[in-house]
Symmetry: C2
Subunit: 188 residues, 2 copies
């Protein structure tokens, strides 16, 4: 009998598969995520892995998409201090090799796979909207005179951290975070 | 007889191989660059491709490394105008799909291959040095009071363009370029 999608065993095996795929992804890159290796790593029959995700790229996308994206989710006051804290937290996350791997691999896999490109666009749009909303609210409260269109804030604020981590492979210090926050507007 | 390395036929076949590898890279991503496909695309015997580059990853690195890197190479005065021009030119390059492909693939392949990581580090260091040197010269000339360490200029100036192109898959407009240039210092 084929298990139904809310069968606890089905959900447990699904979680184990995604966890195994994420481990393989972080350790060996996208090429390391195959049905056979995921099955071995998760201690699950290969046929079960195929039943959940018939294609490897779907499995890889799932592994990447389950990396949580907590940044800029809950704005706090004053907005400038919150932005500094959030960007500092993001910079510290980007110090980790595995986070750099996921950020880099998401962008490159999205070039060749439509499904992954949808994920990339979703992440990018989520971050851009969160930052734009927070900055517009800060402006409406009189906290800041914006120097830039709110939808550009993600590129201006996250871009330098992302470049430092994925291209320069270095760490973003407090001075860069402060420069980035001040480039967005004149804070009162 | 094995041709010597300065034999014109050897150099011609080498150029044809790199050109073919670059075309395959841009059209189909790193997975499309194989000895067999490169040989077919270049109209050259597969054994010749192997003689030049015994390993696929070396061939791929060569294809990527031959994408020229003209940006920030020749500072001009006033420095602010030159920076705006150079960043605008870089943004227009990053509007092209093939340039996004190379930028993205370089970062992701560098995660798994030491040879490619050397290339990545070389590109990153070259850009950072060119920008730092230009800003220090501008400061010494009294053109600008720098807000940031010169070595952070590449992340601050290129990062937003790179993020916009490779993560958001959008275009960088003049306002973002101006914001980025003004984030580096107070221009006189």
């Amino acid at each position: 009998m084929t298990p139904s999608h809310d069968d606890p065993r089905f959900l447990r095996s699904r979680e184990a598969i995604v966890a195994a795929a994420r481990e393989l992804l972080v350790a060996g890159g996208p090429g390391a995520v195959s049905h056979a290796r995921v099955a071995q790593q998760a201690g699950i029959a290969r046929a079960t892995v195929y039943r959940h995700w018939p294609r490897t790229d779907q499995l890889l996308a799932e592994a990447m998409a389950t990396v949580p994206l907590p940044f800029f989710a809950a704005p706090d006051l004053p907005t400038r201090d919150w932005l500094v804290r959030e960007l500092t937290a993001l910079a510290r996350q980007l110090d980790h090799h595995d986070v750099r791997v996921v950020a880099t691999t998401l962008a490159s896999t999205a070039l060749w796979e439509d499904g992954m490109d949808v994920r990339r666009a979703g992440f990018a749009d989520l971050l851009a909207r969160r930052l734009a909303d927070a900055l517009e609210a800060a402006r409406d409260r009189g906290e800041v005179d914006l120097r830039t269109a709110p939808r550009d804030a993600a590129a201006l604020a996250i871009g330098p951290l992302h470049y430092r981590a994925t291209i320069e492979r270095g760490t973003t210090d407090d001075d860069v975070v402060a420069t980035v926050v001040d480039s967005l507007g004149r804070w009162r």
